[in-house]
């Protein structure tokens, strides 16, 4: 169970949230101008990063607001939580704006 610090509501259990996949995938500006390959990229291709991954979550049973999260897909550590529309933080310099770490409960082998 991840403990996720909602920017509006504070730390809450993962079960209150829904996952939205890769962040920063913009809707094509001219969809009708895309080739089939480009349209496939937009519809079906997403990064599948092993490591730090920028992704979207929504606090479904709380404020119902979307936000972005930088999370390690191996350790599941949450490295940053930031607002929709903000660029992905540069973790070399950024101050991690969440105090909540993941709680890998039941994470037995």
């Amino acid at each position: 169970m991840l403990l996720i610090s909602c920017p509006n509501c504070g730390p809450r259990d993962e079960t209150e949230f829904h996952y939205g996949g890769q962040a920063h995938v913009a809707y094509p500006e001219n969809p009708d101008a895309l080739t089939d390959r480009q349209w496939a990229e937009y519809l079906f291709y997403r990064d599948n990063t092993k490591g730090a991954f920028a992704e979207r979550w929504v606090h479904s049973t709380g404020c119902r607001q979307w936000f972005n999260m930088l999370r390690d897909t191996v350790s599941y550590d949450i490295q940053a939580i930031y607002k929709m529309g903000e660029p992905r933080p540069d973790m070399e310099r950024a101050v991690v704006n969440t105090t909540a770490a993941t709680t890998p409960e039941g994470a037995t082998k």
């Binding site: 169970m1 991840l2 259990d13 993962e14 079960t15 829904h18 996952y19 996949g21 089939d36 390959r37 349209w39 496939a40 990229e41 519809l43 079906f44 291709y45 997403r46 990064d47 599948n48 990063t49 092993k50 991954f53 992704e55 999370r71 897909t73 191996v74 350790s75 599941y76 890998p104 409960e105 039941g106 994470a107 037995t108 082998k109």
Partner: protein, 406 residues
Amino acid sequence: MSADQLPEHPDFLWRNPEPKASYDAVIVGGGGHGLATAYFLAKNHGMTNIAVLEKGWLAGGNMARNTTIIRSNYLWDESAAIYEHALKLWEILPEELEYDFLFSQRGVMNLAHTLGDVRESVRRVGANKLNGVDAEWLDPQQVKELCPILNISDNIRYPVMGATYQPRAGIAKHDHVAWAFARKCDELGVDIIQNCEVTGFLKDGNRVVGVKTNQGTIHTEKVGLAAAGHSSVLAEMAGFRLPIQSHPLQALVSELHEPVHPTVVMSNHVHVYVSQAHKGELVMGAGVDSYNGYGQRGSFHVIEHQMAAAVELFPIFARAHVLRTWGGIVDTTMDASPIVGLSPVENMFVNCGWGTGGFKGTPAAGLTFAHTIATGTPHELNKPFSLERFETGALIDEHGAAAVAH
């Protein structure tokens, strides 16, 4: 069946050779699919100067972590064809591989709990029959006769309204399947190289000519990727993308019990699937964790949810205990169908995207992937499962159609 009827643990079934400087083909991934591919390359195509590279130990990934369910009751023609071919191979492989991996055709039931479920199920039974897949629709009383411990009363949250039933479906001992393939591969001259992690690829223009590993560089004419949850990582090394997302999928077992569960029961709606292993453990699985993950572990609430479903359907399970839980990394696609075919890199081939259901497909994945690698063109069965389908739009949408929510 009791534990003392299981075959004894064998001596070494394969050599542990040093990698040679070059091979005619290299398979990346020493799980079920990789081993089956190597077996069919050697047996059907005479390619014996080949190697299977495994990052960890043989069949220690999803092959060791799945719930061993084998069935072919998929909705769409393309899926029914490849999974039914797999099931037919499962039926002859113990003899062909000279290894009894305890393929038990005890049947698989897919429960229906809503009117929508019932309609989907009856439709799927019809589609299955048209495709030569054995399928029946059972009413709740027939469900109870086949699996007496199931609660079919109508005072539970999601009463059982019936089930589809595939009598030829069942389970097999996953480790023994891997060992059976590995031993035959070894006999045919295939090098199985464990603890050999691929770190990059050698390319000549857009053609792959070798594999960089932690055990040195291996030159090869052809590369087949069969790395399930880590396929995207390998594809990135090779310079292309795959339309897959890796998710943790958990499973668990109880302590050993007397035989109480004679078949396999899957419920899409309340979401749990249960069988009883030959040794006696109740084996259960459910859905993936929602987030992308490579950590081979998931969240506990997923297990809590599946246990709630299991106890409602099987009230006697309330007194059982969870003995072990674990997770694997499954490679899911948007249409819940696998990708078996060519890649954007010349002489590199991909077998991935089997998601939560790769075990049942093992023999057909091996057969068709071997054909694709050996001849450079897809087999009739895997032609629809190409990477191009995401561009052409010819998806094989088994989401919600394949008798289980993925």
